[in-house]
């Protein structure tokens, strides 16, 4: 409908804006402005300098949905790059994404994923199914494979409330975009082995939300005990993990007052000191 020569008029919508039938922002961006894609440009040769890495994320199912939690530390080699980093984000109203790996790329990826889901919602007037969201994330991670092979891998954990099934679900990914649905609980990042061991002992079917939040915080605590790249709850600076629940009520972040109570209880009963 628009003549090609029309693109010479400054300020008007270029042709890709008016292309019908596409509701994916990522697809639009890949076609129109590929340089804005995370991993959209090839890395120059040479050795990568040190850069912040995000560490441990856990997710577990509970009676009404899923809980996702992440510590606050970003590390850069042996240094602590950031004490208050946030690694858990709402992807949309009914899903959460947590990131481990190269922090800069991961945060870009999350931002793009959030726009992707909202873009679809606005254009189609409907929510993507949870499987649809998980698949879109797969495609994005696959798009980052080039950077991953050069050491900038992003490994997210995705969890959401499936409105069609009425249950929480958890998805993990590998660097090639492979997507795996996890049963019950999962963890990613440097401290994930310790966190998973902790969750294995704490997780039970039908946990309530308070129980699931406590299990998630304890798993991060256990990971921080053993893994120097994972930050434990810092009661002096009042830095607590980011914990969110996703259920039929939507995404809810657990506030710090509740978390400090959880940490206090764990300290009392845990015999960590």
């Amino acid at each position: 409908m628009i003549h090609e020569r029309g693109t010479s008029v400054p300020g008007r919508f270029p042709a890709p804006f008016l292309a019908p039938g596409m509701s994916s922002f990522t697809e639009f961006l890949t076609g129109y402005a590929p340089h804005l894609m995370p991993g959209g440009h090839p890395l120059p040769g040479g050795i990568l300098p040190e850069m912040p890495h995000a560490t441990t994320i856990v997710a577990l199912g509970y009676a009404d949905g899923v809980v996702m939690a992440g510590d606050r530390r970003a590390t850069m080699g042996n240094l602590i790059a950031h004490r208050e980093m946030e690694k858990i984000f709402p992807a949309d109203e009914y899903s959460a994404i947590g990131i481990a790996g190269s922090a800069g790329v991961a945060i870009e990826l999350v931002r793009l994923f959030q726009v992707e889901l909202e873009h679809y919602e606005k254009i189609e007037g409907a929510l993507l199914s949870l499987d649809g969201k998980a698949n879109r994330l797969s495609t994005m991670i696959r798009g980052n494979l080039g950077l991953a092979m050069q050491g900038l891998a992003v490994v997210p954990l995705f969890a959401g409330y499936d409105l069609a099934r009425g249950a929480g679900r958890i998805f993990s990914y590998d660097v090639t975009g492979g997507r795996y649905e996890e049963k019950d609980y999962h963890s990613v990042g440097s401290g994930s082995l310790f966190a998973r061991g902790s969750l294995k002992k704490r997780w039970r079917a039908g946990l309530d939300s308070a129980g699931a939040v406590a299990a998630a915080v304890e798993a991060l605590y256990d990971a921080a005990d053993e893994d120097s790249a994972t930050g434990g709850p810092d009661t002096v600076r009042k830095i607590y993990p980011i914990v969110a629940t996703v259920s039929a009520e939507g995404y809810r972040r657990v506030d710090d007052d509740d978390l400090s109570a959880v940490v206090a209880t764990l300290d009392e009963e845990g015999g960590r000191r």
């Binding site: 628009i2 020569r5 008007r12 890709p16 922002f25 961006l29 007037g125 929510l127 939507g250």
Partner: protein, 264 residues
């Protein structure tokens, strides 16, 4: 090869304009007007799924009249424009003015080059106070104007604008604004008896100033009925979403139990 007759630009633009105007005037009108808590969009639309009013971005809404496939295409372009800008800069850098300019350039270029787009658009942005609200009206030829407080477009737009000029004033409540819009939309341009428009025939949406981020919500169901009933005390929309799980793009007031969701 046949040589086309020379047609002067004036003649061609006039014909294009007549063509677009005629076709736009055949469609149902739409009204966009400011109220104390935001901006309201009202149009007659029997369809529940083919919308004439839509969300573009956090604080920006869109209303269109004319040819559906053309304004739908422009709506999607606007969403892509806004999302791209917000993604590459920051969410606060997406403005109705920028979007209105892009629409104006596009409509203007198409108007001079080929078949004009048979659409009229409103791009509205809700601000932190009513004085910061912005309403841009765009015509098929790319002309753009900023309107103070209210816009009518589509069939009988002139009569509707005159009626709005008489009766609209700043600080209307939402129910007053909707009642005014429905009243003038139901008028018969031929001077006959006014039609009674029921909520089911209307497409209504608001940009709610008090919402933290995405301000656009459609209104339907019992909530819309209550807002339009003169004897009902409801004057504004709730500023939080309903608890029923699913897409929260529409406020229906159809809830019944429980307190309102505290976090929206």
């Amino acid at each position: 090869m046949t040589m086309p007759f020379y047609v002067s630009p004036e003649q061609r633009y006039k014909e294009n304009a007549d063509y677009a105007r005629r076709n736009i005037a055949r469609g149902r009108p739409a009204v966009v007007l400011g109220y104390d808590g935001g901006i309201a969009f009202i149009t007659e639309n029997p369809s529940r799924s083919l919308h004439k009013v839509s969300e573009i971005y956090d604080r920006i809404g869109y209303a269109a009249v004319g040819k559906y496939n053309e304004f739908e295409n422009l709506r999607v372009a606007g969403i892509r424009y806004a999302d791209l800008r917000g993604y590459s800069n920051d969410r606060s850098d997406v403005t109705a003015r920028g979007l209105a300019n892009a629409y104006a350039q596009t409509l203007g270029a198409v108007f001079t080059e080929s078949k004009p787009l048979e659409v009229e658009l409103v791009v509205a942005e809700v601000g932190t106070t009513p004085d910061d609200d912005q309403l841009f009206r765009l015509s098929y030829d790319g002309s753009v104007s900023e309107q103070g407080g209210y816009v009518a477009m589509g069939g009988q737009a002139d009569q509707l604008t005159t009626a709005l000029a008489e009766r609209w004033r700043p600080g209307l409540t939402l129910s007053e604004a909707l009642t005014l819009a429905v009243d003038i939309l139901g008028r018969d341009p031929g001077g006959g008896a006014a039609r009674e428009l029921t909520p089911a025939q209307l497409e209504v949406a608001v940009l709610d100033r008090l919402r933290p981020r995405r301000a656009f919500r459609r209104l339907a169901g019992p909530l819309l009925e209550r807002l339009l009933r003169p004897d009902d005390p409801t004057t504004d929309v709730p500023h939080t979403d309903e608890r029923r799980p699913g897409l929260h793009d529409t406020l229906t007031g159809d809830e019944g139990e429980g307190p309102e969701n505290p976090e929206g």
